[in-house]
């Protein structure tokens, strides 16, 4: 009996570049533009109108659709939080997320061997967008005008991960093998979340930290268009960043988030992962307000707190609610 050869889906790749203008796409190569994904990429394609027509007059069935329009894609791309392992410079970037942090509404600033990413509010030169060329399932998925929301999470003591929830304009799927990609600094291992440094205000957390999740919560709205094939892509809206911490409870005399919550106290939070020279990720939020506390059980028997901090700006005209730094 003849058997068929399967098409495998356990290899994948992402090639990406920033676009010179929104939706313009970009020419990418496997040698220069590959971003190392930590997980398989799955593309969910949808249309903003499927071409459905009004009800059929003489039957209880449905008449055929007109062709759909407004083809858009959503995909979650996950990369490891790691550094370059060599000094940062104008030609030496943090690997895998340098472009996508910019395409998620952040300004990249290089200052004396350190890359700092800060959130943007309607920049004069426009938000940056990414062209994604994703490979998986034996296919190629080209996506233009891709904008992302961002999550950074460290669960248990493992490697921290950055999730980029991209929305973009979907091109035409094609049959394609995964290209032989060249990745930036593939031999540099990411720092693990097993010796993070966490401080909330004047309190340096000395109890066990079980997990952290930082979410930008940036709104990404679709621009339906009666021209341009039904969609003009996406636009950034407001952000509402939060940091969730699962930590073992400290004596209230030492650290009292309940009092902070009740008083609306602003605290500076710093969280640092250290993987050695030029492999450090520092998170900073200077005006964090605890808005939600859940008493939870950690490790079966230990009193824990699930703290939700909302990260605020210091004024109505400054983008200083948080920053992410790839330090030397």
């Amino acid at each position: 009996m003849a058997v068929s050869t399967p098409i495998y889906n356990n290899v994948w790749a992402a090639l990406s570049k920033l676009e010179a203008s929104y939706g313009a796409g970009a020419a990418v190569t496997a040698g220069a533009d590959a971003q190392l994904l930590a997980d398989r990429c799955v593309v969910a394609t949808s249309f903003n109108d499927m071409g459905a027509r009004t009800a059929s007059a003489g039957t209880t069935g449905q008449v055929p659709n007109v062709a759909p329009s407004g083809k858009v894609a959503k995909t979650k791309l996950t990369v490891e939080g790691r550094g370059l392992g060599a000094a940062y410079g104008a030609s030496a970037f943090p690997p895998d997320l340098y472009l996508w942090l910019q395409a998620s509404g952040h300004l990249a600033t290089l200052s004396t061997g350190t890359y700092v990413f800060t959130p943007q509010s309607v920049p004069a030169a426009g938000y940056k967008s990414a062209y994604l060329e994703l490979y998986g399932d034996g296919m190629k998925f080209p996506i233009t005008g891709a904008l992302a929301d961002l999550v950074w999470r460290g669960e248990k003591t493992g490697v921290s991960l950055f999730d980029f929830d991209f929305s973009g304009i979907m091109g035409t799927e094609a049959e394609a093998a995964v290209p032989a990609a060249t990745y930036l600094a593939p031999t540099i291992y990411p720092p693990k979340a097993n010796n993070i440094a966490l401080a909330i205000g004047a309190y340096t957390v000395l109890r066990a930290v079980h997990s952290f999740v930082f979410k930008v919560n940036r709104k990404i709205a679709e621009r339906t268009d009666q021209q341009s094939g039904g969609t003009s892509g996406f636009a950034f809206g407001d952000r509402a960043p939060t940091l969730e911490l699962n930590i073992e409870r400290e004596a209230l005399g030492t650290f009292n988030p309940f009092a902070d919550r009740d008083a609306g106290t602003q605290k500076a939070i710093t969280l640092a992962l250290n993987g050695g020279s030029n492999n450090k990720i520092n998170f900073n939020a200077a005006q964090a307000q605890c808005t939600k506390i859940e008493n939870v059980t950690l490790s079966d028997a230990v009193a824990g707190l699930k703290l939700t901090y909302e990260l605020k700006t210091s004024s109505s005209v400054t983008d200083d609610d948080y920053s992410l730094t790839w330090a030397s």
Partner: protein
Amino acid sequence: MDIILTDSTERVSVPLEVELKGRQAVLDWLTAQGITETRVVDPKDPTQTRALRFDYTRTAPAPAPAPVPDAPAAEVAAPPEPPAEG
């Protein structure tokens, strides 16, 4: 990408179209702006292939902006209307 110069608080924005052309294009653009990138080499690195950090300093003034085309000659003010007789 923005670059903050090491010896001042001056912030220089690298245009996106330059950044898209790649690493050498960024370095060439910085040089054209009179900005030098200096590697501070790790003394513990015997091969000196790695730098502890990069410093950015302005070693020449920024190039003058492109000349603006001659402005049209100011219009000559029209002589005042003679007062209406009456």
